[in-house]
């Protein structure tokens, strides 16, 4: 009895600093932001007072609904592109790479080792007018205007590139876990390569698909670096709006309202996803 009590207090002691840090600097700030989103600025001052001012939400959403929907559409397209691009790579790394496996995994994480902003700037060069990529795209009719930079295409391309590793790694992890004997059994039972893939491999890799899409989609929705560097005035995302409302326009209530809606919508999406897939999909087996 005394022993379990002591053990338990050890657990709380170990947990305390981290829990303190996350509660004070993550949970409480969210609460403060929620409060700020319902505040009204006292005219002429930079002070706010709390009034349950739900109109902040209505006004902010009305004003910025285009950027809001655009963020979700860009993120959804980029996530889908990531899935399509990442799957063959993850599949090859898991089943076919042999001694090249570590080198290919290195290639997947290598972009992380260069600074995010510099990577995005590199795409500015790749997608610039008169660059080979733009010229090829133009000649095959993909970029009729001859420009890629400062279009939605560039922003989506940037997001896709920047978050691709987040898709490859969980896909690889779940494909790697598949027992190869299951695939052999399918072959022994005269399943074609195609039906083995669609009926055995792909369903077994679903946890990876779910984790990968979440890990790509969540940061992609809130991203504003790609829109800032690669997009034009018509490609601004909700992240750009929140950032500029906070940092240059000092319209804290509207920015807080937008952040909160963004977070709420993402939470709902994540919740539905986890209901559908089980929490171990995101955290690996250990989270159960």
């Amino acid at each position: 009895m005394v022993d379990t009590l002591r053990k338990r207090s050890v657990a709380y002691l170990l947990l305390l600093p981290g829990a303190f840090w996350l509660i004070v600097f993550f949970v409480i700030p969210l609460y403060f932001m929620a409060k700020l989103s319902l505040d009204v600025e006292i005219p002429g001052t930079l002070h706010y007072h709390f009034t349950w001012h739900w109109d902040n939400y209505k006004e902010a959403l009305e004003l910025y609904k285009t950027q809001f929907f655009r963020s979700f559409i860009y993120a959804a397209i980029a996530t889908l592109l990531c899935l399509v691009i990442a799957y063959p790579l993850a599949y090859v790394i898991a089943f076919k790479a042999g001694r090249w496996q570590n080198l290919m995994l290195f290639a997947v994480v290598a972009p992380f080792f260069t600074t995010y902003l510099v990577r995005t700037l590199a795409w500015k060069t790749i997608l610039a007018d008169e660059s080979p990529v733009t010229e090829v795209a133009h000649s095959i009719g993909l970029a009729p205007s001859g420009h890629i930079l400062y279009t939605s295409f560039a922003v989506i391309a940037g997001i896709t590139y920047n978050f691709l590793p987040f898709m490859v790694l969980p896909l690889y992890a779940s494909l790697e876990r598949i027992d190869v004997r299951v695939l052999e059994a399918s072959k022994d039972l005269y399943a074609s390569a195609g039906s083995t893939f669609w009926k055995v491999t792909f369903p077994l890799s679903l946890p990876g698909v779910v984790a990968g899409t979440l890990l790509t989609f969540i940061p992609a929705v809130g991203d504003y670096v790609n829109a800032e560097f690669l997009g034009g005035a018509n490609n601004r995302m909700i992240g750009n709006v929140i950032q500029s409302l906070y940092l240059s326009q000092s319209n804290y209530s509207a920015a807080a309202a937008l952040s909160f809606v963004l977070m709420a919508v993402i939470m709902v999406v994540v919740f539905i996803y986890l209901r559908f897939a089980g929490s171990e999909a995101l955290m690996g087996q250990e989270a159960v």
């Binding site: 509660i23 902003l117 510099v118 590199a122 969540i218 929140i242």
Partner: protein, 310 residues
């Protein structure tokens, strides 16, 4: 194989048909080869796609642009690699980033490792809640975390935003990742090793110091590396909470509007190579730890074998 089965057929086949037949089979063979290797080819293309921007950054670190924008190729020069730290503003920002990342890594690794041990080794009231507290920050967009922390500092009326607020923010978003990495190491941990130490008379602290800690060290090291990488590369959250402090990513963002010195590309490549070296070191450490645990299975076998002999 197919060549030998084809040859006996040749005399029987009329000459006119022969050419078209072999042409067909070689086309079919090429097609089959392509189909069998299609997924490999796609994977290689994706690898190339992943590496192109890195190659471009490397190439453009040797560029000699006339103006302040390093976006189009002008000519080759080594001068920026000769003096990568000549831009004092850039160097200051880089040092600030390194200092911040080291401190944030140190704090978040200690705190995160403690949390991971508590979560894996102890069952207690509120465990699910603690798990939830760790997952949610990872599922929150950075812009929301940055904005909410700024709201917090503004409402509290913190005297000034700067290095301290940056440190608070960086530790906050690093903790969860450290917990996840260290926890996965702890879960794959053979607990009978600790029991053995205990049986041999080691107290809980000695057991931890001599058995548990060395075995989870690669996990801790991996978590620390991830924390360092996240911290040194963070732009979004820092942008909200930096005040007048300038980190490396913040410097790049500011410079992007006025023109980017080539030194930025040089420093990015130096960071790249440094990380590659650190990764190599981590892998080597991991292998060593695996060797350490690999001693066990043999002993287990002999344990099983003994009763059979007796």
């Amino acid at each position: 194989m197919s060549a030998t089965t084809d040859t006996p057929m040749v005399p029987n086949t009329p000459t006119p048909g022969r050419g078209s037949l072999s042409a067909e089979t070689s086309a079919a063979r090429a097609w089959r080869w392509l189909r069998e290797h299609a997924v490999n080819i796609v994977a290689i293309l994706v690898v190339i796609y992943l590496l192109i921007p890195i190659a471009l950054i490397f190439v453009f670190s040797f560029n000699n642009p006339a103006g302040r924008y390093n976006f189009t190729w002008v000519g080759f020069t080594l001068k920026h690699w000769g003096h990568p730290f000549s831009d004092t503003e850039l160097t200051k920002a880089l040092l600030e980033s390194i200092k911040l990342a080291l401190l944030a890594t140190l704090i978040s690794t200690i705190i995160g490792t403690m949390m991971a041990i508590a979560l894996v080794r102890h069952s207690f009231f509120g465990r699910r809640l603690a798990n939830f507290l760790i997952v949610v920050p990872m599922a929150t967009p950075e812009v929301v975390m940055g904005a909410s922390l700024l709201s917090f500092f503004l409402i509290l009326g913190t005297p000034s935003l700067g290095f301290e607020t940056l440190l608070i923010a960086h530790v906050m978003f690093c903790i969860s990742f450290v917990v996840v990495v260290v926890r996965s190491r702890l879960i794959g941990f053979d607990r009978s090793l600790e029991e053995a130490a205990r049986d041999l008379g080691a107290g809980p602290f000695t057991t931890f110091r001599l058995v548990t800690f060395p075995l989870i060290l690669p996990g801790i090291f991996g978590g620390a590396m991830l924390a360092f990488a996240l911290s040194i590369d963070d732009f979004v959250i820092s942008n909200f909470n930096a005040g007048s402090t300038v980190t490396f990513p913040l410097y790049i963002f500011g410079a992007a509007q006025r023109g980017i010195p080539v030194e930025v590309y040089v420093v990015a490549m130096i960071l790249f190579f440094a990380t590659v070296l650190a990764m190599g070191f981590a892998t080597w450490q991991q292998r060593r730890a695996e060797k350490m645990t690999a001693i066990r299975p043999e002993q287990e076998e002999s344990d099983i074998a003994l009763p059979g002999i007796a």
